[in-house]
Amino acid sequence: MSDAPALSVLRLSKCFGERVALDDVSFEIGHGEIFGLLGPNGAGKTTTVRTLGTLLSPTSGSAVITGIALAPENGVAIRSRISIMPESPGLYLRLSVAENLEAFAELYQVPDARSRIERALRAVHLIDRANDACGTLSKGLRQRAALGRALLSDPEVLFLDEPTSGLDPVAARDVHELIDELRHRGVTIVLTTHRLDEAERLCDRVAILNTTLRALGRPDELRERLFSKTLSVRTVAPLPDPGAVFDACPAVDAWREVGTASYSLVVSDSIVAPPAVARALVSAGADVLSLGESHHSLEDVYLELIDQGRRPTP
C-alpha cells in the first residue's frame, strides 16, 4: 500500500438550504485505521458518510477517497471501492438473507459471488440463517446481515453509520466483536456513533463532531489534551496565603479554592508543575494530604466540547 491516506477530507461543508449540517470539516484517515466520528444526534455524522459515499454532493470542500477525488463523474468508481452500512439496515424483508446478499454481490459485480456470500455470512455468524426471510430476523441479526452485505465487496473503506443504535447490550456487544474482528483484517473503517464507550473501545482515533470538527485524536490523547492539565491539591489545614505558594510555581497558570483546604490548579505542563507545587507546599510548611492530576473520562471531554457549541461565541 502507498503512504497516501485511505481517505482525506478537506474543508468539507454541506448545507441543506439555510441549515448548515457540516461546516469546514477536515481530517485524514490512514489505511487500516478505525476512525470514529463521534457526535450527538444532528451532528452531521450521517451527512458526512453520505457525502463521502457520493450520495450527497458537498456544498464546498473536497475529499479524496481511496485515491479518487470526490466528484460527480467518479461516483461509480468511488462506490465500487467503498461500502456503507447505513443507519437502518434496509434489507428486503421478503427476501432471505442469502438473497439480499446475492443482489448486492451482483450489484458490486464481485467475482465468484457464491463463495463471497458464504464468506460474508460466516464473518457475521449468520450462515445458519442464510435461508430465513430477513423479516423474521431480530433487530440485532438484521444489523449483522447488513454488516455482512457491506463486507461482500471487500471494500477498501467501510463506513458504518451508528452500527449499534437501537440494539440491546448483548446484540451491541456482538456487533462490537465483529468490528474488532475486522480490525485484524486491515479494513479501513469509518464508524459513526453517539456512544462514547463505543468510540473509546473500537476506534484508533476519534473526531468529535458537532457540525464543526471539535477535536481529533486518539481517545486517550483527547482526554489528556483537555483535562489532565488540572492539578488537585488537598492540605490538612487551609493555606494562610495560597497565592503566595502557587503564584510562584513554574507552569501554574491559575488556581482557585474549591473547598476548605482544597485547591484546583490549571497548569501548562503536567511534568514540571506537580513537583514544583509539592516543593512549594512543603517549603510553605503545609501538610499535604494529596496532590494529583484530575482524571476525567472521555465523557467529560466530549460534553465539554459539545457544549462549546451551545455557548454563544463572543
Binding site: 450520495l55 447505513p86 443507519e87 434496509g90 428486503y92 458490486y108 459485480q109
Partner: protein
C-alpha cells in the same frame, strides 16, 4: 456515457421478481385487473345472438383488453422507487456502484416483462375461450388477423408508456398510494383512445393506428429521458429521511 452493466440490470430485475412473488397485493393486482377486463368482452361474445355477427365484425372488442398492458405495469412502476424509499431499502442500493440507467432499466424491465406476459396470456385465454365456446360465426367475426397483429404490437408500447410515466412519478413522489393513483391517471389517455376504438367511436384506419403507434414510440423515448432526469440521488436519499425516522 458508459454502457449499462447487464449484470447489475439483471440483479435489480431478479430481486424485483422475487419480491413480487412474495407480495400478495402485487400477485393480486396482476390476477384481478386482467379478470376485470376480460369479463365484459367475454360476456358480450357469449351473449350475442348469431345474427349479430355482422355488427360484431365492425366492433373492436379485443381492443378493450388493451387496458391490461396499460394498467398492470402502471401500478408496478408507480411502486418501484417510492416503495423502496418507504421500506428504507433505497439508500443501501444507491450506495452500490449501480448507475442511474441500470437502476431504471432493471426497474422498468421488472414491470414490463411480467405485464406483457400477463397481457399476452389474457389475450390467449380470451381467444381460446371464444374459439372453443362461442358460436363459430361469432368467433370468426371477433378474431381478425390485422386486429390481432395490432394487439400484439400495441401491447408493449402501451406498457412502455405506463411504465415510464409510473417510474417518473414514483421517483418524484413521497407516498406510494399517491404515486399509484397518479400513475393510474397517466395510463388513462392511451386507454381512452383504445376504448374509443373499441366502442367504435373512433374508426381504426391504418393511418390512425400507425399514428398512434408512432406517438407511443415517441412517448416511450421522452418517458425514458424524463425519468432519467427525474432521478436525483440526493433528493431520493434526503427526501426519505424524515420518513425513515418516523418508522423506527
Amino acid at each position: 456515457m458508459m454502457k449499462p452493466s447487464t449484470r447489475r440490470v439483471r440483479a435489480i430485475f431478479r430481486k424485483e421478481l422475487r419480491e413480487y412473488r412474495r407480495t400478495g397485493s402485487i400477485v393480486g393486482t396482476m390476477a384481478v385487473v386482467p379478470l376485470i377486463f376480460i369479463i365484459a368482452p367475454l360476456a358480450r361474445a357469449f351473449a350475442l345472438p348469431v345474427s349479430a355477427a355482422a355488427t360484431l365484425r365492425h366492433e373492436n372488442l379485443l381492443v378493450y383488453l388493451m387496458a391490461i398492458p396499460a394498467i398492470v405495469p402502471a401500478t408496478l412502476a408507480a411502486y418501484s422507487v417510492v416503495g423502496e424509499r418507504q421500506q428504507g431499502t433505497l439508500e443501501p442500493i444507491l450506495t452500490t456502484p449501480l448507475r442511474r440507467e441500470e437502476f431504471l432499466l432493471g426497474k422498468a424491465l421488472a414491470s414490463f416483462i411480467p405485464s406483457v406476459v400477463v397481457a399476452y396470456a389474457v389475450f390467449a385465454l380470451f381467444l381460446a375461450c371464444v374459439e372453443l365456446f362461442a358460436q363459430p360465426v361469432i368467433a370468426s367475426a371477433l378474431v381478425r388477423g390485422p386486429e390481432l397483429l395490432a394487439q400484439l404490437a400495441f401491447t408493449p408500447l402501451l406498457a412502455g408508456w405506463s411504465i415510464w410515466a409510473g417510474i417518473a412519478i414514483s421517483t418524484r413522489s413521497n407516498d406510494v398510494r399517491a404515486a399509484q393513483q397518479l400513475a393510474g391517471l397517466a395510463s388513462l389517455p392511451p386507454i381512452a383512445i383504445t376504448s374509443l376504438i373499441s366502442y367504435n367511436v373512433i374508426h381504426p384506419t391504418l393511418r390512425l393506428v400507425l399514428g398512434f403507434g408512432i406517438a407511443l414510440l415517441l412517448l416511450n423515448r421522452v418517458g425514458w429521458r424524463i425519468t432519467s432526469k427525474a432521478f436525483d440521488r440526493e433528493r431520493l436519499v434526503t427526501g426519505s429521511r424524515s420518513r425513515g425516522e418516523r418508522q423506527t
